[in-house]
């Protein structure tokens, strides 16, 4: 039992530290949101990628960067309603 508790605690610590670490009850919304947010942050984090996208969009890099962070706020639409 102690082991289980410890594993649980470790998992929670991991989840707090590394955003996006999944658990048994990860919902589709959480999972897809995480993927989308990781993707956008990777796009702005790699300078050549940001340039590539900004060229494709015909917009300056700084503008594209801000737009990407905006999209990270709600990347996959509204969260599902909580069911009681």
């Amino acid at each position: 039992m102690a082991d289980k508790l410890r594993a649980q605690q470790q998992l929670e610590a991991l989840q707090a530290r590394y955003v996006g670490t999944g658990h048994a009850d990860t919902t589709k919304f959480e999972w897809t949101s995480n993927i989308a947010r990781d993707t956008y942050s990777s796009y702005i984090g790699h300078p050549p990628m940001l340039e590539y996208i900004s060229l494709g969009m015909g917009q300056p890099r700084e503008k594209v960067r801000a737009q990407m962070i905006d999209k990270m706020i709600q990347p996959v639409g509204k969260p599902p309603a909580v069911q009681d």
Binding site: S41, P47, L55, G58, K63
Partner: protein
């Protein structure tokens, strides 16, 4: 068979580093008391200075950190004399660097690990800022994490940094970060944040509609050693960039928060002040379009005060200033108002650097980086200021927009541009102009600043003088009159049967009383002794003393002088009979013949004699080249035993008879700084350099390269105050020591082929004089840092793809959000009519013509959403070097693909096929797709539209295939033949690839389909039944950006994450696919949702830059094939295949050792970096191996000893040189 490679392996080299700027900052990093610019480009850190004297850039140092640089910041620790550098990279470590100017290198002051490596959402690294007083720095990630380090100066340990302090806030995004200027109070960092925790919970969407963006202050309490969230306030929701406002004694402190149509001054306990961003007025501008700030810089004026230059997405620079309450008595007073005015327009920048020396460095997002000189601060002109008094501070309240009239530059003056390729949209290596080596043609830039650039491996030349000669000359010399002269006095020309002497002065005139023998050809001219001259001609030697009295030494009867070698005190001549005579200068400057003679077996072809080393009376060695393919080194010192000179010291055999010899020392990496070298030119066009031992004449360290197809002539010269050699063959080359690593560099000179050349020095210019046919030319080489020259042809819109035909290029270009020229004209004319009409009403007639004079190169095209502009341009890169003709597409049609296709059904007449799409990328609009077929007229210089075929999907890829047109339509592959009114579909393979075909290649019946997301698929076409069958594809999803076939089975490609890979179809699958018949046996069931077979991965390598073109091609004259690639950010690189197992093992071991000995500067693990997305396979990183040359002798020795097999340092260096020198540049 041990020397045969079992699997393919390549050596990766960078030819030209990326030129896209991630960030550029200003600081005094070298501690020289002057400002330098530190620029991060790709994985490179470069420090350069802007010099007013030389009117250009001086590059101090460049270092490849082998990691992705994400941000750089500078800080000056208390009482330090220079700025230190903090680099944020993908290493998960924070690194503090010091630039040591004397050693020209970066030194790691601190390397502190804080997180996982890689570019991740929650690992700090995206934002890096330092406290302006140099006491702390903060690294933040896009989400949640922020780390603060305290930077200290320790009395004994030097500069230290603390362990990180956390300022995390979960579920929060950071848009921008700033180190606030608070003087010497506790450091504060400001962040623009959005907390999304509520949005994540709210299913109604109300929270999302109403979320707020906050400006948050994080204070680092230096006393308590922790970080607190000091203050937060809501700012405009569109804000995304922050600028520092000076604090302490210099200003009110705080930040400028910029968003859409909004610049607001914010600070704790201060009121907010806001101005709008003025919009362009003009007929083609939409008055309702709101601008935002994309870049900017703050500048503190020396006597106090400060202002900002902020740039909008159009490129307009605005001067923004704060007016303070009481400026003199209390400079730290409250802010009275914020004001903004138009300054000038420059290309959109990723970083702006305003230097104290009055320069503005604009690191453009696309196109060459430009240096402007500040001519005025925008105070004198009549552009109006817009004050914050007129605008409500609350961004939610609508403000009246402000307008300004853009105009040509008034305050700035462009002085210098860096020749940059960034961004490269496409590239091709072809030899259109029939030169020795092929040229690299690249499509560069965006919008109106785009161009087609011809890139050559050559040194730029400054052409100074050219003058016609009465008859063709065979050789040229210049000479001084006395040994102490600074400049040359005579030019001596050897014509067909006479010698011409010209004097150098105000005018170049023929000299009649020079004392030279006129009616003979000349072999050599030499300034002799203190003030005499020598003329060596086939019949003898003429000695001319200071009073121009000539005396002759005659060659023995029936013999002539065939060749000679001279220096100031020594002459060696070779006679037709094979004897060598040797002369020295005696005490009164006369010729003294040595009694020693030497007789050679073969015919002597050339002699070589070095300059006299300082403090010596003679040069000790004479090199003799004979037609039995040998070079002998003779000693000119009397033998200790016999007293004889001209004793043979060593001999070297060559692959063909030598044609020219020279002995000259060159700068290198040896401990003395330079070494004596023997330079050999062979009749076969090969140049050889060998190190020559000064004492015993032994030769070692051989470097050789094929330079041209004519016998090589070698001319010693001086370039940039260093010894160099001019090598003349079918084109001129320069041999010099590479300024980066002091190894031998051989680069062609972009100049005409020369018969003969010599150094030239006069009071007006220094350089080289040469003969091209019957022209005398004087030229100079003044830049050897870059071995690449570019010719640029401007294009209209962003170019995307091109094809060549008849040495012309056909380029497709398109521009999103841009009004087509017709529409622009219409709007301008409408506005004119309106103005005239309203003028008539008011009784005034005013001509509005200022709209037309704004060049789109500087001001961009008028922005308008939901408009495409596109054109096809014919460019002549060889003869005319200009756009020949341009064909605009209308109706929002944009060209996406282009190919030349000979149709079998039209007797192989070649047509130009262009794939186009209407309203591409706009949601909820009618999309239409076409292929336009053009007939080629006027030998390719014009086009005529034959017909337009409507297609169901966007034709992103076109290919000429078996006399038909293969088209990639989304995931489908179709074959079309030409008809009278449109193209006729002959065959179709649905779902040839999973998502979207973006490129096609072919060999034989095989078509390679490159998919946008799903790597490659090979398709075979069966003539019988006209069927297309996909038979092999990949097991990994690669987001292909470019590809090229290297052989029938193999394709090399690049993806948008920056990888280059090579895939090979298994041999049995390949043969199976080509079996005759209808290919029924290929129609087996697919495997795991794909084709029945999979590729083998041959090679995989992370390049960091996104490859946009990849091609198998030779790059050097007579060189073998290499894989050339061009990256988006301007990188040009090659992969050179290894030929021998022995070399490969050595390089693999060297790479391994270098990874340990020369750890990447920012703390990234090199192997992990090159295997960023997938483990590196089949590639050795040549850029890392070349750093071996920069190590100290001891380090090199240690590495060499550890490498298995007999590899002394010299041999490793030679191998490194050969890998780059022979097949690349």
């Amino acid at each position: 068979m041990a020397s045969v490679l079992s699997s393919l392996c390549m050596y990766s080299l960078t030819l030209s580093p990326p030129s896209a700027t991630t960030q550029a900052i200003v600081g005094d990093f070298a501690g020289l008391g002057r400002q330098q610019i530190l620029s991060a480009n790709g994985s490179l850190l470069t420090i350069f200075e802007v010099s007013r004297l030389q009117n250009g850039f001086i590059i101090h140092h460049t270092h490849d950190i082998f990691g992705i640089i994400r941000g750089i910041a500078s800080y000056r620790p208390h009482s330090a004399k220079k700025d230190f550098i903090i680099v944020s990279s993908d290493s998960g470590r924070v690194v503090v660097l010091e630039y040591v100017h004397e050693k020209k290198q970066f030194e790691q002051i601190h390397l502190e690990t804080f997180g996982k490596s890689g570019v991740r959402r929650v690992i700090p690294g995206q934002y890096l800022v330092a406290d302006p007083k140099g006491r702390a720095c903060m690294l933040a990630s896009v989400e949640k994490n922020k780390l603060v380090w305290i930077l200290n100066r320790h009395p004994t340990q030097g500069f230290t940094i603390s362990s990180p302090l956390e300022a995390h806030k979960p579920q929060t995004f950071v848009y921008a970060l700033l180190g606030l200027d608070v003087g010497y109070e506790n450091p504060i960092f400001a962040a623009l944040e959005v907390d999304y925790s509520e949005i994540e919970q709210d299913a109604t969407g109300v929270a999302y509609e109403e979320y707020e963006k906050q400006l948050v202050y994080y204070q680092l309490d230096l006393g308590l050693n922790h970080v607190v969230r000091l203050w937060a306030d809501t700012v405009d929701r569109t804000s995304h960039i922050l600028f520092r406002v000076p604090g302490g004694t210099n200003g009110p402190s705080g930040a400028l928060v910029c968003g859409v149509d909004n610049i607001t001054y914010r600070h704790m306990n201060q009121e907010a002040f806001r101005v709008v961003i003025p919009r362009r007025s003009g007929a083609t501008e939409n008055p309702n379009r709101r601008r935002q700030i994309v870049a900017g810089t703050m500048y503190s004026i020396k006597g106090g005060g400060f202002f900002y230059l902020l740039q909008t997405e159009d490129g307009d620079l605005f001067k923004v200033a704060l007016e303070l309450e009481e400026t003199k008595a209390n400079p730290n007073g409250a802010v009275k108002r914020l004001k903004i005015k138009y300054f000038d327009t420059v290309p959109v920048a990723s970083s702006l650097c305003l230097l104290r020396s009055g320069f503005l460095f604009v690191a453009c997002e696309s196109g060459s980086r430009i240096l402007y000189e500040l001519e005025a601060l925008g105070d004198a002109d009549d552009d109006p200021w817009f004050h914050s008094d007129n605008y409500p501070a609350d961004p939610a309240v609508d403000a009246k927009p402000a307008f300004f009239q853009p105009r040509p530059l008034r305050n700035l003056n462009p002085v210098e541009t860096m020749q940059d390729l960034n961004p490269v949209m496409a590239a091709k290596v072809v030899n259109l102009s029939n030169e020795d080596a092929p040229q690299i043609y690249t499509l560069c830039g965006t919008g109106a600043r785009s161009s087609l650039k011809t890139v050559r491996n050559s040194l730029a030349v400054l052409d100074l003088v050219e003058s016609q000669l009465p008859q063709p000359a065979s050789a040229v010399w210049t000479t001084k009159m006395t040994v102490d002269d600074v400049h040359d006095s005579y030019i001596v020309l050897s014509l067909v049967s006479m010698t011409l002497v010209l004097s150098i002065g105000e005018d170049v005139e023929e000299v009649t009383d020079s004392g030279f023998m006129k009616e003979t050809t000349t072999l050599a001219v030499q300034q002799w002794g203190p003030d005499n001259l020598l003329q060596i001609h086939p019949r003898g030697i003429r000695h001319i003393n200071a009073d121009k009295v000539a005396s002759d030494w005659h060659a023995p009867q029936h013999r002539t002088i065939v060749t000679c070698a001279t220096n100031n005190r020594q002459v060696a001549i070779a006679l037709s009979s094979g004897e060598i005579y040797y002369f020295e200068c005696d005490s009164d400057g006369a010729l003294a013949k040595s009694t020693d003679e030497s007789k050679m077996d073969g015919t002597i072809l050339c002699l070589g004699l070095g300059q006299i080393p300082e403090g010596r009376v003679r040069s000790d060695l004479l090199a003799v080249g004979t037609d039995d393919q040998a070079i002998q080194i003779l000693s000119l010192v009397p033998d200790a035993r016999t007293g004889h000179r001209l004793k043979q010291q060593s001999i070297q055999l060559t692959s063909s008879p030598p044609s020219s010899l020279a002995i000259m020392s060159m700068k290198d990496r040896s401990s003395q700084g330079s070494t004596l070298y023997l330079h050999v030119g062979l009749i076969s066009g090969i140049y050889i350099r060998t190190a020559l031992d000064e004492h015993d004449g032994t030769m070692s360290e051989i470097r050789k390269k094929f330079l041209g197809h004519k016998p090589v002539k070698i001319v010693p010269c001086v370039v940039k105050k260093e010894n160099a050699i001019l090598i003349l063959t079918s084109r001129p080359w320069l041999g010099y020591s590479d300024p980066k690593n002091n190894s031998l560099a051989l680069t062609p000179i972009s100049y005409l082929p020369l018969e003969s050349a010599w150094t030239f020095s006069s009071s007006q210019f220094e350089g080289m004089i040469g003969i091209h046919e019957d022209e005398l030319r004087i030229f100079a080489i003044d830049e050897i840092r870059s071995n690449i020259t570019q010719d640029s042809i401007p294009l209209t819109y962003t170019p995307h793809r091109f094809v060549s035909h008849n040495s012309l290029f056909y380029v497709i270009e398109r521009e999103n959000h841009t009004l087509a020229p017709k529409m622009r004209q219409q709007l301008i004319e409408d506005a004119k009519h309106k103005a005239i009409e309203s003028g008539k009403k008011n009784g005034v007639t005013k001509e509005e013509d200022d709209e037309t004079e704004l060049l789109p190169e500087n001001f961009g095209y008028p922005y308008s959403e939901f408009h495409w502009s596109s054109c096809i341009e014919i460019v002549d890169p060889v003869e005319g070097k200009a756009v020949v003709k341009s064909f605009e597409l209308d109706n929002n049609e944009a060209a996406v693909s282009i190919v030349m296709v000979p149709f079998d059904s039209r007797e192989s007449e070649t047509f130009l096929a262009v794939g186009t799409g209407k309203n591409i990328g706009w949601p909820a609009t009618q999309h239409e797709n076409f292929i336009r077929i053009y007939r080629i007229l006027e030998n390719g210089r014009s086009l005529e539209l034959v017909h337009k075929t409507k297609l169901p999907k966007l034709p992103l890829a076109l290919l000429a295939f078996k006399g038909m047109l293969a088209v990639g339509l989304g995931p489908d592959l179709a074959l079309y033949d030409i008809g009278m009114k449109q193209l006729l579909r002959k065959s179709l393979l649905e779902k040839a690839t999973p998502s979207c075909i973006m490129q096609l290649h072919t060999q034989g019946s095989r078509i390679v389909c490159a998919d946008q997301r799903e790597s490659l698929t090979y398709v075979v076409h069966k003539g019988q039944g006209n069927r297309l069958i996909a038979f092999v594809d990949d097991s990994i999803a690669r987001y292909t950006t470019c590809s090229g076939m290297t052989d029938y089975e193999t394709t090399v490609g690049g993806d948008k994450f920056g990888n280059i890979w090579m895939l090979r179809c298994p041999p049995d699958v390949s043969t199976n696919a080509d079996e005759e018949g209808e290919g029924i046996h290929l129609l087996q069931k697919g495997y795991l949702g794909g084709t029945p077979n999979r590729f083998e991965l041959m090679m995989h390598y992370f390049t960091q830059d996104i490859p946009m073109a990849v091609q198998k091609t030779p790059l050097t004259p007579g060189g073998e094939d290499v894989i050339f690639w061009a990256g988006l950010q301007g990188t040009l690189g090659v992969f050179v295949p290894f030929g021998r197992r022995k070399d490969l093992t050595m390089f693999q071991e060297l790479e391994l050792a270098m990874r340990k000995e020369d750890k990447p500067l920012a703390g990234r693990d090199h192997l992990a970096y090159r295997g960023y997305y997938a483990p590196v396979k089949g590639v050795v990183d040549g850029d890392l191996c070349e750093r071996f040359l920069l190590l100290s002798r001891d380090q090199k020795q240690a590495i060499a000893v550890a490498i298995e097999g007999n590899w002394p340092v010299e041999k490793i260096e030679a191998s490194i040189w050969t890998m780059r020198g022979l097949l690349a540049f």
